[in-house]
Amino acid sequence: MAVAEQTLASAPVRRKQASQSYLSLVWWKFRKNRTAVFGGVLLLVLHIAMVGVPEFVSPYLLERTSDYVEAKPQRIRFFDQEGNFHLRPFVYGLEKKIDLAKRTRVYVDDPIRIYPLGFFVAGEPYQLFGLIPLKTHLYGTLSDDPAASVFIMGTDALGRDWFTRILYGGRLSLMIGLIGQLMTIAFGTILGAMSGYYGGWVDQLIQRATELLGAIPDIPLFMALAAAIPSFWSPISVYFMLTLILSFVRWGGLARQVRGLILSLREREYALAAKSAGGSDSRIMFRHLLPGTMSHVIVIATLAIPGMILSETALSWLGLGLRPPLTSWGVLLQDAATVRAIHTTPWELWTVPFILLTILAYNMLGDGLRDALDPYSGR
């Protein structure tokens, strides 16, 4: 490799990308990586749909219950039973029946009731971003029949639309990933940078702390901390506490990496140049050292978000994290994770593909970023 890079390094001015800043080079390189772009777009869509505007994307509001309890998903159709083609997609109405032999409730399609579907239909009123009053939903039935419904992923035991719940659950789960990771970055970079730049007892203290934290097994620590959250706290406080716990446990690894980077960057001649010109510690830190670690930190953080989301899911699934009435993917999984549920309401497992997709997308994006943030390497 050395030879190839030497050849390239000696190129005087690369005309093809004349005068490009670091960021534009990164973007240029990132764009060429299809997988990463795909992951990025997917994440963008997921985040807009779930974190941003789940009220708009879902046909119902989260709290809206219905008489259809544990109803199976309604198939979206273009052809009716006679084989006639409908230009507008529709669903059949659901008819409740009692299976006497099994003593269970079952739903069957009622081909008489045809509920046409449409985009941007008026439905229950809500406030977008808590501000803009709206009634439009992304999709819904156009029928005026009060019994009309569209449950593309079925309903739960309270007759709530499962897809709606997945969207709202995603809001909390994805936000835990984002906010938690932001806090981890804040903790990790600041402590790691201090540790690397000042050295001495500061370094010793921070290093020993990360080691201690690293020595305690994750799950028991989570469990202990999560169990310590008082049960009378409001769900929202519990949520923020959980985020804090997750990021608190995870900053150690990042801090150590940042410390190593700072240690090597500190001896770079450009840092010395700034120091020799009279630059202050904070200038050297914020202008020369930290920017150099950022690309690295972003990659680590991106790749660590799935872990964060999975931790929340795992904790909530164990019943230690978020609890109803909050809805998160972990809470949803808890609903779906009984033998009975798998037998009678298998559609509740729809949560799983969403989790998988999110985690895959984060990994694709992270890998792409890792390559792109190093635009000076030849490849």
């Binding site: 390094a9 000696s10 190129a11 005087p12 001015v13 690369r14 990308q17 004349a18 005068s19 490009q20 800043s21 670091y22 770079r268 001649e269 450009y270 010395l272 140049a273 700034a274 120091k275 020799s276 010109a277 009279g278 630059g279 202050s280 200038r283 202008r287 020369h288 920017p291 150099g292 000076y376």
Partner: protein
């Protein structure tokens, strides 16, 4: 290139005066060696061990030596990039003086604010053209940084200064908005030089400024440094390991070995009549670009001594072919033998040493 050619035509004998700009006395820089859980200091690496030298206004003092001899550390200790362990660094400062008068100050006594002011007058050029420029900053940001640190606002004035500096070092004004990776090694070194000159210093410490450059680029850069010296009356401390480069650019040369200056003299005197056996051996080791030159090589045996555990007496004695018992026992004093010719050898003047 056009810039360098212009100045060549108006070549004048350089006006050197005898005013001493920087006077270093007994400078020491020891790095502690720490071991164990409690980080106890178990010894010291004597990177710079009691050196004294001076630099006159507008002259070049070359500092040569093999790797690990402390030449870079010495340069960096002077401007307190490394905090010296002991010593005195007297510098004739313009900014700290009043009413246009200069004031001689000991850099090691200055407080943070005063030290920051003095840093306008002493700047550095680094070795590695890749490492010495922050890859995230544009050329204009890089050159402007020292000015911004010293309180200048970015504006048309600073922009003009930067453009004139760029042109002075042989780059074009349209390079302003570019980033370091778009330049070749030689061009990057020019950017580093422009940065060093942005505050109009009187002393520039050049830390191996050409050793990472290709042969043809080396020559350009050396010429540029010489031209700039004439134009701005700069004094250089030129730290390098290449004897021929140092000979070419320096007015006076100091030779370092394991943290100490073993010899210091005018360039010609040092190269033709060395007084220290190390200088002699070093000169004879340099490969000459001449196939007919049959080297009467004085092979130095062994390796450079370990600065954390130097030999007794004269540090050079295990490799010295003239070593006597005295050399093992007593450390030689750094003394003036002839006019402006200093050395640290017990037998200086008595030995018949070969120069070039």
């Amino acid at each position: 290139m056009s810039v360098t050619n212009q100045t060549q035509s108006q070549a004048q004998p350089p006006t050197k005066n005898d005013t001493i700009l920087l006077d270093v006395k007994g400078l020491k820089k020891y790095f502690p060696i720490q071991k164990g859980f409690l980080r106890r200091t178990v010894g010291y690496v004597k990177a710079v061990d009691d050196i004294s030298f001076f630099v006159r206004e507008g002259e070049t003092l070359g500092v040569v030596g093999e790797s690990g001899c402390g030449k870079s550390t010495a340069g960096r200790s002077i401007i307190r990039l490394y905090e010296p362990t002991a010593g005195q660094v007297s510098f004739k400062s313009q900014v700290l003086g009043s009413n246009g008068q200069t004031k001689t100050v000991n850099l090691l006594d200055l407080n943070a604010q005063e030290m920051k002011s003095v840093r306008q007058e002493i700047s550095m050029i680094f070795q590695d053209p890749v490492n010495s420029l922050n890859p995230r900053m544009s050329v204009s940001d890089i050159i402007a940084e020292p000015m911004i640190i010293h309180g200048m606002k970015m504006g048309q004035d600073t922009e003009d200064i930067i453009v004139s500096l760029l042109e002075r070092v042989g780059l074009r004004s349209d390079h302003l908005r570019r980033y370091p990776h778009e330049f070749s090694g030689g061009q990057r070194q020019r950017i580093g030089i422009a940065r060093a000159l942005s505050l109009n210093p009187s002393l520039v410490i050049c830390d191996e400024p050409v050793s990472a450059l290709d042969v043809s680029i080396q020559a350009q850069t050396l010429n540029l440094l010489q031209d700039l010296q004439k134009d701005f009356n700069l004094a250089y401390i030129f730290v390098a390991h290449d004897m021929s480069v140092v000979e070419h650019i320096s007015d006076r040369v100091a030779v370092m070995y394991v943290g100490k200056i073993v010899e210091m003299a005018e360039t010609d005197a040092l190269f033709t009549n060395p007084l220290h056996p190390y200088t002699e051996a070093l000169l004879s080791s340099v490969p000459k670009p001449d196939p007919l030159y049959k080297p009467h090589r004085i092979m130095m045996q062994g390796e450079v001594a370990d600065p954390s555990n130097p030999p007794s007496g004269c540090y050079f004695h295990p490799r010295c072919r003239y070593a006597q018992d005295l050399c093992k026992e007593k450390s030689p004093e750094f003394r003036q033998i002839k006019h402006d010719h200093w050395t640290a050898c017990h037998f200086a003047g008595e030995l018949k040493l070969e120069g070039i």
